[in-house]
């Protein structure tokens, strides 16, 4: 027999997933996820049309790595998670509908977990699908023989799994940060901007401080280091930290996430409904 808290999490998930996937407010998250896909799809289309131009598989692999680490991790997943997770509590306060949950017989800890899981599921479906489709789109203009050989004899599958996994962990890590921001601040935009700046200048701070960022761990999980010789402005965005072992990176993000979700839970336990002041 299912325990009550599991039933309640399932009920919260049902409500939240419907709101996240099908609300008009979330449309821009889909557009954000579509943007890099259009770049890679467009690249492949051009290469297919200009069949006489020689294709360089290795170069495209490096380009994918570069764009994934700059556009996907730092823009698409960052802002996508901001859109999804910040709304979990803050959006409800703005809609003046949070009392629906606060007047139900559910522990606020369970509510936080339910809402966070709903955000994770939505983010994973949207952004992991986007990453996988980007990867397919990038190599779509190569012959099937080359792609199959990359998958069978090269590192194709492991690279794809690493990108998908990094995307997932990015959602988990950034999601927890924005969940907390939404619960903590009346206007979370400024703290979010602060986090964006912190994540962006991460490459220029001492190695010890670099470890206090999500991007540091995500970068360590990427299978290919982003090309170091890209020029400005992208060179400013690249993290040049010494990579750490994937196991440590994964556990680092998960421990960090756990801590942040616990803090969010404590904050939500203290939350009051006083819409007129929000």
């Amino acid at each position: 027999m299912k325990t009550l808290w599991l039933t309640q999490i399932a009920a919260v998930l049902r409500v939240e997933l419907g709101k996240t996937f099908f609300s008009r407010r979330g449309l821009w998250v889909y557009l954000l996820a579509l943007a890099p896909l259009l770049i890679f799809g467009g690249h492949s289309m051009i290469m297919l049309v200009r069949a006489h131009v020689p294709c360089d598989f290795g170069n495209d692999t490096n380009v994918f790595a570069g764009i994934f680490q700059t556009l996907d991790l730092r823009v698409v997943i960052f802002f996508g998670c901001l859109g999804i997770f910040m709304n979990l509590f803050r959006g409800e306060v703005l809609d003046r509908s949070l009392h629906f949950y606060f007047l139900a017989p559910i522990r606020r800890e369970v509510l936080v977990v339910g809402k966070y899981l709903a955000g994770i599921i939505a983010a994973l479906v949207i952004f992991t699908t986007s990453t996988i489709l980007q990867w397919i789109a990038m190599y779509a203009h190569f012959s099937s023989t080359i792609v199959l050989s990359y998958l069978r004899d090269g590192n194709g599958w492991s690279h794809l799994a690493a990108y998908a996994g990094t995307t997932a962990l990015g959602c988990v890590g950034y999601g927890s940060v924005f969940l907390l921001m939404g619960a903590l601040f009346r206007n979370p935009i400024f703290p979010a901007a602060g986090i964006l700046i912190w994540e962006s200048v991460n490459a220029f701070v001492p190695p010890l401080l670099q470890k206090f960022s999500v991007i540091y761990y995500l970068k360590s999980l990427c299978p290919i280091e982003a090309p170091p010789n890209v020029g400005p402005p992208f060179s400013l965005l690249i993290v040049n930290a010494d990579p750490i072992a994937p196991a440590i990176a994964v556990s680092g993000i998960l421990i960090f996430t756990l801590l942040v979700v616990v803090i969010a839970t404590l904050q939500v336990r203290r939350m009051e409904i006083n819409y007129s002041t929000d």
């Binding site: 009920a11 509908s97 629906f100 017989p105 606020r108």
Partner: protein, 314 residues
């Protein structure tokens, strides 16, 4: 009555920064219908939000049938709150609003479905149940909130201006529903600005002004404690002028004047018991008295006496 059978406030204060919400409120609310009455900003909604955990008291202790508002998982198994907030989760239909609450409560799909329809039927909303709440009228939103707050059969029902926006027919139905729930032993705590309705449905009242409780208890009991205010009695009789002359001779009478319709006398007395005895003697001397009714032991009068001429909250 034990704490686990009452809603108890013990020296509760709530400040919003420097602004007073309620101050030093000590109350014990028994079963039945209790109305919170007071002007805007008197602290009615603050009290309701405190007892449901939406606000945390700055100091003091609150207990709802022995449960602290800090334990929502237990509190809302026995409490339903129909708030004044006129907003709902985005995109919900009326049915989803009630059904989703019941699923969070822990009901299975079939239980939630059955309880939801029962509550929706009780407020006559079946036909509109599958329409988006955003398209509901004010009265329909009010009714679906009532359905949601009662769908799990709570022992305590807190209703913030529940009759707002309801047409007279539904208003009468809701009042009848509340009366029948109160007779079953439920605690019903209502805030309302419609004083004659408060008078009609309440077993007891809590009068609030500027965050303080100025009076509480049964309406008549509160009225009797207002010694400095003479009690008004309306006497219907066949000879009001003659009666006026007779009652002026009584020491307990401080004022007597003809009723506006000329068929009765409005008497103010500082000692109603003594006055009624004297009135019996007058009646035996040939004046035909049709009825004797207290004219100011209602909420309206209490409000006027205790809170003054401020308009009740709209």
């Amino acid at each position: 009555m034990a704490d686990n059978q009452q809603v108890v406030f013990e020296n509760v204060s709530k400040f919003y920064g420097d602004v007073l919400g309620v101050n030093r409120v000590t109350l014990s609310i028994p079963p039945g219908i209790t109305s919170l009455v007071g002007p805007n900003g008197s602290g009615k909604t603050t009290l309701m939000n405190l007892m449901t955990g939406l606000l945390q008291p700055t100091r003091g202790r609150i207990s709802v049938l022995g449960v602290s508002p800090n334990q929502p998982e237990q509190l809302f198994r026995q409490l339903g709150y129909c708030t004044q907030f006129d907003s709902f989760p985005r995109g919900f239909t009326g049915y989803q609003f009630v059904y989703s609450f019941l699923r969070i409560y822990g009901c299975t799909h079939s239980e939630a479905e059955s309880f939801a329809w029962r509550a929706i039927d009780r407020v006559n909303m079946r036909e509109a149940a599958h329409r988006k709440i955003a398209a509901y009228s004010k009265g329909m939103r009010q009714r679906i909130k009532l359905a949601q707050s009662t769908c799990h059969g709570p022992a305590v029902l807190v209703l913030d201006e529940p009759l707002n926006g309801l047409d007279p027919l539904v208003r009468a139905e809701v009042i009848a529903m509340l009366r029948s729930l109160a007779e079953e032993g439920m605690h019903i705590i209502i805030s309302s600005h419609v004083l004659h309705e408060v008078d009609m449905i309440s077993d007891q009242v809590v009068l609030l002004s500027n965050g303080y409780v100025v009076a509480e208890g049964k309406i008549r009991g509160v009225r009797n404690e207002l010694d400095e205010r003479p009690m008004q009695v309306l006497i219907r009789c066949n000879a009001p002028s003659l009666l006026a002359a007779k009652v002026f001779e009584q020491s307990s009478v401080v004022e007597a004047r003809m009723h506006a319709d000329g068929k009765g006398l409005l008497v103010k007395t500082k000692d109603p018991d003594k006055f009624y005895l004297q009135l019996n003697k007058i009646a035996m001397n040939g004046i035909g008295i049709e009825s004797v009714t207290p004219a100011d032991d209602d909420v309206n009068s209490l409000y006027e006496y205790l809170i003054g001429s401020e308009e009740p909250s709209k």
